[in-house]
Amino acid sequence: MGGEDVRIHVVQSGGIAGLRSEVDLDTSRLPEPLSTQLAGLVEGASFFGLAAELRSRLPDVIQYRVRVEDDDRAHEVCFDDACSDVALLELIERIAEASKAATG
């Protein structure tokens, strides 16, 4: 995948505050190197091969419902801060940074 454009939709909920938020990103509209980094993190997390549910059901962890689409595939994964691997957590952090950059 690497340089391919992807569209990312994230719904975040839970955490001790129980706040809910949504983010939509299209890497084709992001500046470099952010666009390539995000696409690389999706690939590095093997996102399209992940199970759909990776939730721990531990209290107060932040939960994420992430949907990623490219030209050929679409996949959605529900996970949280307690059960996911570092690659997924890094992806979430970078999505948050990209969203902040995109909205100014």
């Binding site: 719904v11 909920s13 839970g14 955490g15 001790i16 505050a17 129980g18 706040l19 809910r20 721990s56 059901r57 531990l58 209290p59 107060d60 962890v61 932040i62 939960q63 801060d81 307690a82 570092v86 957590l89 952090e93």
Partner: protein
């Protein structure tokens, strides 16, 4: 007979004079507490109240005598360790402060250490509980977790604190009741093991809010009337329009800001929120039982931990089932009030639940749950025994 063997004018922070410590021997109170309500109306209730007050004063004397007395009173005392993740993902990180060591100068580390101690003290002195598992479990906490991490959570073994991003949240160690909240998730894990989904999940959150608030009230020696009943006061970053994350006194009023939305908590079953997010809205619908607790504590008067807190603790540790819904929890808690404090207290608690839209009918005998297996209750493999709850109108989350 006086309402209590301890004068009501007795200052709460001082030790009682010796002559009041054993004016009525405990075995006489115990006998009176078992007298039938029909023959001696209110007598058993007053005897139980006196026993509770005496135990509380004994506990306060221990607290004032310092940690060595605490260790004698309940187990070996707290065994705290604070770790630093240095903004990384790995847990627990490296040790920065162990039990008995001096302050580090890092506010986050020292706030976590102190709040772990305050929470230990509360559960030990009020409920006779030795740490999270009741058996002196180490209290571990990691601070500076990840970068700008907007959360604090209990991961089944330890506490984890983020520093906040400075835009929405400040550091999470600032709030004593939040740390009490998280550690109570550990207590629940070892006791009722409430499933973290839908209504049982909201009850899990509710118990953490109850005892988080009580840790704060106990530390500040506040009455129910004087307490703020806020959860997470001071956590919002400057500029966010909100006083806390939640309000037990007035659910739905804790914050209202364009960046984070408006506090969605209901205070009554008629406004129950049906949603798939956040494990079925566990942080939203907890407002309903939270308000019931507040109403019960205010109705009892005095200090919330003395009566309402003991009733709720009894239910959490003795009778609540892991898949309980709100109606079942209300029944268990009303029964706990009858068991711990007598019939009039049960009616007080029943009235509190009724005001939040949950009716508990009188019953002479109910069945207690089998004791939960220690330690394994929160993890995976459960169905949704109470996906929405019956008999109530639901407001769908937007």
């Amino acid at each position: 007979m006086r309402r209590s063997a301890i004068p009501e004018s007795h200052p709460s922070h001082a030790s009682p004079p010796d002559q009041f410590r054993s004016i009525v021997p405990p075995h006489i109170f115990k006998h009176m507490a078992e007298l039938p309500e029909t023959n001696w109306p209110g007598l058993a209730d007053r005897a139980l109240e006196s026993m509770a007050l005496a135990a509380e004063l004994r506990a306060e004397r221990c607290a004032m005598a310092g940690v060595s007395a605490l260790r004698q009173a309940a187990g070996e005392g707290p065994m705290r360790t604070v770790f630093d993740a240095q903004h990384g993902f790995s847990l627990p990180g490296h040790i920065v402060r162990k039990e008995g060591e001096d302050s580090t100068g890092d506010d986050t580390v020292d706030e976590a250490y102190d709040a772990l101690g305050a929470t230990y003290m509360y559960f030990s002195l009020v409920h006779g509980r030795d740490s999270i598992d009741g058996r002196g479990l180490r209290m571990d906490a990691t601070v500076h977790y990840r970068r700008s991490f907007n959360n604090a959570f209990w991961n089944g073994r330890q506490m984890v604190f983020g520093d906040g991003d400075g835009e929405i949240f400040g550091r999470f160690t600032r709030s004593l009741d939040i740390i009490g909240h998280e550690l109570t998730h550990g207590v629940t894990q070892y006791e009722a093991g409430l499933d973290y989904q839908d209504q049982s999940g909201a009850l899990n959150e509710h118990m953490s809010d109850v005892f988080g608030s009580l840790v704060k009230q106990y530390t500040l020696k506040q009455t129910a009337k004087k307490a703020d009943w806020l959860i997470g006061e001071g956590l919002w970053a400057p500029g966010i329009h909100g006083k806390a994350l939640r309000s037990m006194k007035a659910p739905g009023t804790a914050y209202d800001d364009p960046r984070i939305g408006r506090d969605p908590q209901p205070a009554n079953m008629s406004d129950y929120v049906d949603t798939d997010d956040d494990n079925g809205g566990v942080h939203i619908n907890s407002g309903i039982p939270n308000h019931a607790f507040y109403l019960a504590a205010i109705a009892f008067g005095g200090r919330a931990w003395s009566r309402a807190g003991k009733v709720w603790y009894h239910a959490l540790t003795q009778t609540l089932r892991r898949d309980a819904d709100f109606a079942q929890a209300a029944t268990a808690i009303v029964d706990a009030a009858g068991t711990k404090l007598g019939k009039s207290a049960a009616n007080t608690v029943r009235g509190a639940w009724k005001k939040v839209g949950i009716e508990v009918r009188s019953s002479t005998r109910r069945t207690a749950r089998p004791k939960a297996l220690a330690g394994g209750a929160q993890h995976g493999g459960r169905g949704r025994a109470n996906p929405r709850g019956a008999e109530r109108g639901h407001r769908r989350a937007s």
